[in-house]
Symmetry: C2
Subunit: 898 residues, 2 copies
């Protein structure tokens, strides 16, 4: 915050004078009041002391700038003129409220003092003018209480105790049962508290009251909780708060008075009608407190049509001015309406979309603005089932929010049970210590997954995100007993068959059935997405492995498939045994047999996918995962072998099992790696075992040729993964290009296809010029690239230190969620420049989770990529984000040329 921005700013501005667009100087509340005053809406007279004064206050170690109070006194005199009342007047006293108001809203963080200006004399004047002694002394005791607490730092309990004592003594149930005489006594006792606690008298001089209240509000900017709040929401500490000095308006002056809050449109649905509440004979805080039931604003229309009309008119004026839905506070004193606050209203995603679209219709905003007003991350809310935000739920544990959405089902502890339940039409939540490829069938059969271990890229997390099923993973509070089929979480026991709910958007595990609300894609949402597509430059592709995912992706607007992970197809139930045979075969013949069968299955998959995406690109990644991932788990195998080996007497079938498992164990052991992430996988597999790649390419081209013959236009792009050196790509591509030609010759058909590579190894980015010689496309695999660039194994890092890093501020964000622009991003930039330098028409995109993250999408837009690819469910988020990136870049461009 640089105060040289405001060299000429005054210390305070009356509401009819301040620049309502300058929230930085005047704070949000002050700017709103200025705007409303200047729109000639009814605003109580008052002024704003600027945030700059607050910064000076801190710069000088907690002192108000010299001369400030002279200006404040002059302002008070002007206020007296405007209101016809006098500060501290024993007959007609001017009372004010002192309200904080920073540039960015920090609800409940800073302080407000009401009824300032009361003392032993002026309270009498207030009583006389209002003809209500009880009201006057109630206001007085409230003021002393607030002053004591906020300005002098006295424990609120001291005042509450006295108040409660009086109620008890008088047999009063409600505060309103207390009489004027009680209030007078309370005032005296409150003043005594001040004397005892601080050794000084309650200041009766209103100017002194004001000075100290202003200081107290400035001081409240820097309480510990305010600082923590700002840190969490990344609000700069040096913004400072403004102070608003506002003539008191009393909504509690009787039946012709009251207070209310309203949204200019329904913040839940976006309906274009006033929405809010109004309470008669009440001050603002009473509306929120909920002791009495307020009227719905809609009810005012019939019951108090004039007030309703006045509010409606004001709301239209404000919306026309701000071109945005507003959230207002107002008070009616003796029938006269005063506006106390206006600001942009918070709303649900659904409302945001509806309002944005309708405001275009109303001519309030442009289509560009409408799109910009829908936050990409908010859009996610629209796509998953959610727990009804109004429901009370019993959260028994928290884990990582690995895959968004919510699901209710029976806790089930093994994948076979889950399948049985699924087949029986019942619904399961699969609960496992962690999942592995053998569990995929069970995951597919379940509504959601809950695991005790694993991070955001654990098997469970990746599979469920791919499937669009909710998951909570790494929930360490879970003590799972697979034998007994139960878990304990923080003292709660859940047995198999018990109903639980998981909230994958928040990471919550909930006991019992939480009420869910279904997402719906509204007409307006379709419109916003269509507009977004008009503005974006990046294409949105999807990561999808199965025909059903591809279909969904297309429905959600995918313009291509950026990543089809063929090994995921290998994990499906009937295929895994074939994959085992292929890997473990003793003879070439056996291996070939297994490969032949896999070929048929893969061809079917590819055909379905390519047909679905007719004429759009489909990037198919050749087998990437280390082969041992397809084999039985090492630990289980070892345990079983040792167990059988140790037991004295074995049945014949156990003897056979031991022999078989011993051999299998040997094979699995030989294939184990110290760091499989950096081991025999990706193109290295293709170089060492060329027949698997060959089978896959045969399947792709067989499928494509058959489709072409049917009159379709398949566009396969074959992606060779984990290339670090151009020769790896060269060797594999040359082999496979030959296979492709062979198949096309066999069919007598030419298919349009590309060969390319995933850039996920730092060296590939650094030597992208060489690699571009042999690649027609690059797809940055930002998950692995982030792993290698940081030397973070995501599975290990997220459990062992990454979240600590984020908590301690060593990293600002999780680089696996939002692309790291300085490190990983620099590599991508180098890769793009070198790659396009060698091959200008190179098609470049990213796959990996960053392809659905708005910040990262912005970065990709700026680098000039062709597309971003993400999981089908995030496509709408990514479409909006891509449009935002393009629109914001355009703005920046325009600004540059102004």
């Amino acid at each position: 915050m640089n105060d040289e921005v405001y060299p000429m700013a005054k210390n305070l501005y009356f509401f009819d004078d301040g620049d309502g667009t300058d929230k930085q100087l005047l704070g949000g509340k002050g700017a709103g009041l200025c705007t409303m005053a200047q729109l000639e809406l009814p605003v109580p007279p008052g002024f704003v002391i600027t945030t700059q004064v607050c910064r000076r206050y801190y710069e000088s170690g907690g002192k108000l700038p010299g001369g400030l109070m002279d200006e404040v006194e002059a302002a008070m005199r002007k206020l007296e003129e405007l209101t016809g009342k006098r500060f501290g007047d024993p007959n007609n006293p001017l009372l004010v409220s002192i309200r904080s108001g920073a540039m960015l809203s920090m609800p409940g963080m800073m302080d407000t003092i009401l009824n300032l200006g009361l003392n032993d004399e002026s309270v009498e004047g207030l009583a006389k003018r209002t003809k209500n002694e009880r009201f006057a002394y109630d206001a007085y005791r409230r003021f002393i209480q607030m002053f004591g607490k906020i300005v002098l730092g006295i424990d609120a309990k001291k005042f509450d105790d006295i108040f409660e004592e009086h109620k008890e003594k008088g047999g009063a149930k409600l505060d309103t049962d207390l009489k004027a005489v009680d209030m007078k006594k309370i005032v005296e006792q409150f003043k005594r508290v001040l004397r005892e606690e601080t050794g000084e008298e309650f200041p009766s001089d209103p100017i002194q009251q004001l000075e100290r209240a202003i200081q107290a509000v400035f001081a409240s900017w820097n309480t510990k909780r305010a600082q923590e709040y700002r840190e969490f929401y990344k609000i700069p500490h040096d913004l400072g708060t403004a102070v608003n000095v506002v003539t008191m308006i009393f909504g509690n002056m009787g039946a012709d008075s009251g207070s209310g809050v309203a949204f200019t449109r329904d913040p839940a649905t976006g309906e274009n009608e006033l929405y809010g509440e109004f309470l008669f004979n009440a001050q603002g805080e009473d509306v929120v407190a909920g002791i009495r039931t307020p009227l719905k604003i809609a009810e005012l229309r019939v019951k108090y049509p004039e007030l309703y009309k006045q509010l409606l008119d004001i709301s239209k004026i404000l919306e026309r001015h701000y071109r945005e839905m507003q959230d207002v506070e107002f008070t009616v004193e003796h029938g006269k309406l005063y506006m106390l606050q206006t600001r942009a209203g918070k709303r649900t995603a659904q409302a945001a979309v509806k309002i944005a679209v309708e405001m275009v219709g109303e001519g309030l905003v442009s289509k560009e603005e409408a799109v910009l007003r829908v936050e990409p991350m908010q859009v996610e809310q629209l796509l998953h089932k959610q727990i009804d935000p109004n429901a009370k739920v019993n959260v028994i544990a928290k884990g990582l929010n690995a895959s968004p959405g919510a699901a209710v089902g029976k806790a089930v502890f093994d994948p076979e049970r889950a399948k049985a339940l699924g087949n029986a039409g019942d619904v399961a939540i699969l609960v496992r210590p962690e999942t592995n490829p053998d569990d995929v069938g069970g995951i597919i059969a379940s509504l959601g997954v809950l695991t005790a271990r694993g991070g955001m890229t654990s098997h469970a997390a990746v599979v469920t995100r791919g499937l669009g099923k909710p998951a909570v993973v790494g929930c360490e509070a879970l003590e799972i007993d697979l034998e007994k089929r139960m878990f304990e979480a923080n003292g709660t026991i859940v047995k198999e068959g018990d109903i639980i709910t998981i909230n994958g958007s928040a990471g919550d595990v909930i006991l019992g059935e939480a009420p869910l609300i279904k997402p719906k894609v509204s007409k307006e949402f379709e419109i916003i997405l269509a507009w977004a597509d008009e503005f974006k430059r990046l294409q949105n592709w999807a990561n999808a492995d199965y025909p059903r995912d591809v279909k969904r992706a297309k429905e959600l607007g995918a313009q291509g498939i950026g990543l089809c992970r063929t090994e995921h197809m290998f994990f499906e139930e009937e295929r895994l045994p074939l994959v085992h045979r292929m890997i473990l075969s003793e003879t070439d013949e056996e291996r070939k047999g297994a490969l032949e069968k896999l070929l048929k299955i893969q061809k079917g998959d590819f055909k379905d996918i390519l047909r679905e995406m007719d004429s759009m690109p489909v990037v198919i990644r050749l087998l990437d995962a280390p082969l041992h991932e397809f084999l039985p788990e090492y630990k289980e195998l070892l345990e079983r072998v040792v167990e059988l080996r140790t037991r004295k007497r074995l049945k014949n079938e156990e003897k056979r099992e031991l022999e078989e498992k011993k051999i299998l164990l040997e094979r699995v052991e030989a294939m184990r790696e110290d760091n499989p992430m950096m081991g025999l996988r990706g193109c290295r597999l293709g170089i060492i075992h060329p027949d698997i790649n060959e089978m896959q390419v045969r399947a792709i081209f067989d499928a494509a040729c058959e489709l072409k013959r049917e009159g379709r236009d398949p566009r396969p792009e074959i992606m060779i993964p984990l290339v670090g050196h151009v020769n790896e790509l060269k060797v594999v591509r040359e082999q496979l290009e030959q296979v492709a030609r062979e198949i096309m010759t066999k069919h007598g058909i030419e298919v349009s296809y590309k060969f390319g590579t995933m850039i996920e190894v730092p060296r590939a980015a650094l030597t992208a010029d060489e690699i571009a010689e042999y690649a027609e496309f690059f797809s940055f695999g930002t998950n692995d690239l982030t792993q290698m660039t940081y030397a973070f194994s995501r599975d290990d890092a997220e459990g062992k230190f990454l979240f600590q890093y984020i908590k301690r501020g060593i990293l600002k964000v999780n680089p696996f969620q939002t692309l790291d622009p300085k490190g990983v991003g620099k590599l991508i930039q180098i890769g793009v420049e070198l790659g396009r330098g060698r091959r200008p028409e190179l098609e470049i995109g990213i796959c990996g989770e960053h392809g659905g993250d708005p910040e990262s999408i912005k970065f990709c837009h700026e680098l000039g990529l062709n597309y971003v690819s993400c999981s089908p469910f995030r496509i709408p988020v990514a479409r909006i984000a891509a449009a935002h990136a393009a629109l914001r870049a355009g703005e920046a461009e325009r600004r540059r040329y102004l």
Copy 2:
């Protein structure tokens, strides 16, 4: 090879005409002959057909350029004039030899044909002129035999059988026992073989003989074995060979004739005296064949002083001309000496050093040239253990000398045994039919490797050279029985556990323990190293973890310690239990107690090291290894737990063991990581467990302060490893800087110290400007940086695919041996530029094995690093390499300004 370099070159040059410095055009042999002819040394008349002709021959698909034979015929006519003989003359025939000769020597790879020009008529002329019919017909049959084999491709055995048959029939023991009449018959039979095998007559036209011989020599450039040889030695395939047509000189003309080979200095020791052998009445190949015992050249001095003097004079002339030790071939015909070849002589490292130093003394070369003549990699020979040359050893078999040095150990037949032996502190020589990737662990655990199969690029050869371990491979006499764990070699049986010695420098397999001598550093070697130090700009530091290694490093010329890996100290026997306690402690107190004890031990180590390196920098790396590396092995633990769990009845002590091990297993399991290389290690450990780092820094500064008080000048540099983000460094450094200040205040002593970091994570190099804010030095950890940049886990890659990559040419070299300039090197360059940009005085070096690799050192010199650090025993190699880099850079600089 671009022939536009020679647009004006002729196709052939007479020896007194060709440019002797142009080996590229004339080949090594031709250039040598030209040089000698022009130095007026006695050379037989002849001419060279250039390598350019060979290239044209290949370009036109194996045809001699049009018109070439006309030029050759003209040249032959000139040769006839010079010799007074005539080609094909029945009275006085001119005979020539046709000798191949490429730019770079490829011994034994290409062909030579002697006695060309003989036919049924001219053989009679030769008989008459020499008055020796047997000699003439012997020469004739040899020519037909060579022509048949080399030009016509007839199996040599057909000729050998006929020859042997005649010997048997005639009762001849030696070839010389055969008479002229036998030779005549043999000639007839050889001609018949030609007719039968090719369907054509032996060509009697000498010009036709010559044309076909020239073609055959060109063709021999591209035999499979020649191609493989070139690939191994990285000789370009398009150099081509020249063909030398040389008048025949006969050393087998009787007692006044003979042939010899000589080095101008002793190639084994470097002594400045003629060294070689001479055989009377013999042709060149007889000297090498070893049937008769030749005279040592030194003996000529007394027995034939004139010949000796003539040779000595010639040798001095040649040395003065070439300023280099020469290896010459010569023949004496009827008392007249002819020089047939001269070339730079191969020599041992010891000789290379001595000769280089002495030639400086003789004014032949400058100190710079002397240093440049000692190849860094050759220096390694001086540093390997060797078999005492005076020892009598029992060589039981011979194989290929695949990796130099000698080793003594127990023969072991499987890699697991080798590991077990290694772990038990015993020494193994791994003996296998051949090795494959599964054996790498066993190779690492052994002192050396012996295989029955495989060549110079077999798996065993490549791996051992990489590891710097001796190996003898392809030892075909070995009959290995893996079941019985034994081998037989030429009748000797060696069982598992028997002691053998292998000499990887010579390819010998020796029964029993041969006495090994440690390398010693000669006076001349000291001189060369001192000169190298004068020229080099890079400093040479050492990687050394223990005081004893530091001492050795200093003796070998280390100017600092670039990497002291503190965790290696943790592995020492009495310390490991303390480390266990520290990691597994249940209470803070226990942990602190263990840390206190470790502190005392580490302080002692650091004190010894800093004292040894007084006033020189010592870079101490804080704990880097994942903690689980210090815990018991997972698999063993799991097996034992399952075993105990499975057994029905347990003794009390076993029950206790089970309980303890179960807990330990749980801890070990919790600490396991999927990819430990990218997990909780390096500075991440220091952030999560700050007390270990703190203990280490306390130990370092306690040690340094105490030394300072003793009047020493310790220079510790604290290295924080595995930094990827500046904040990691900042957090750790700030904590430790405070500890350091605290200790120094406690001692009342100021130590000079630095804090810095290892750049081993790609992101650190990419953000080196930020990191340099908090680092006073960078040390590029090129091992890990290579792993991350390539995404190669070295442990997995070398076993599973890396050697395959090298064998198939996907990678030219192992990037863990020689720094990859395009990928890893680019990151280093970025790191250096960004780092120095922010902090110009930044001290930058590399540690990791590349610090001892000449190619990599050159790269570091070019990048302007301050030092390279390598293991102590490679320091001399690195000093020479650093000097070469500086001198070559200077040359390049000079060339640029010429």
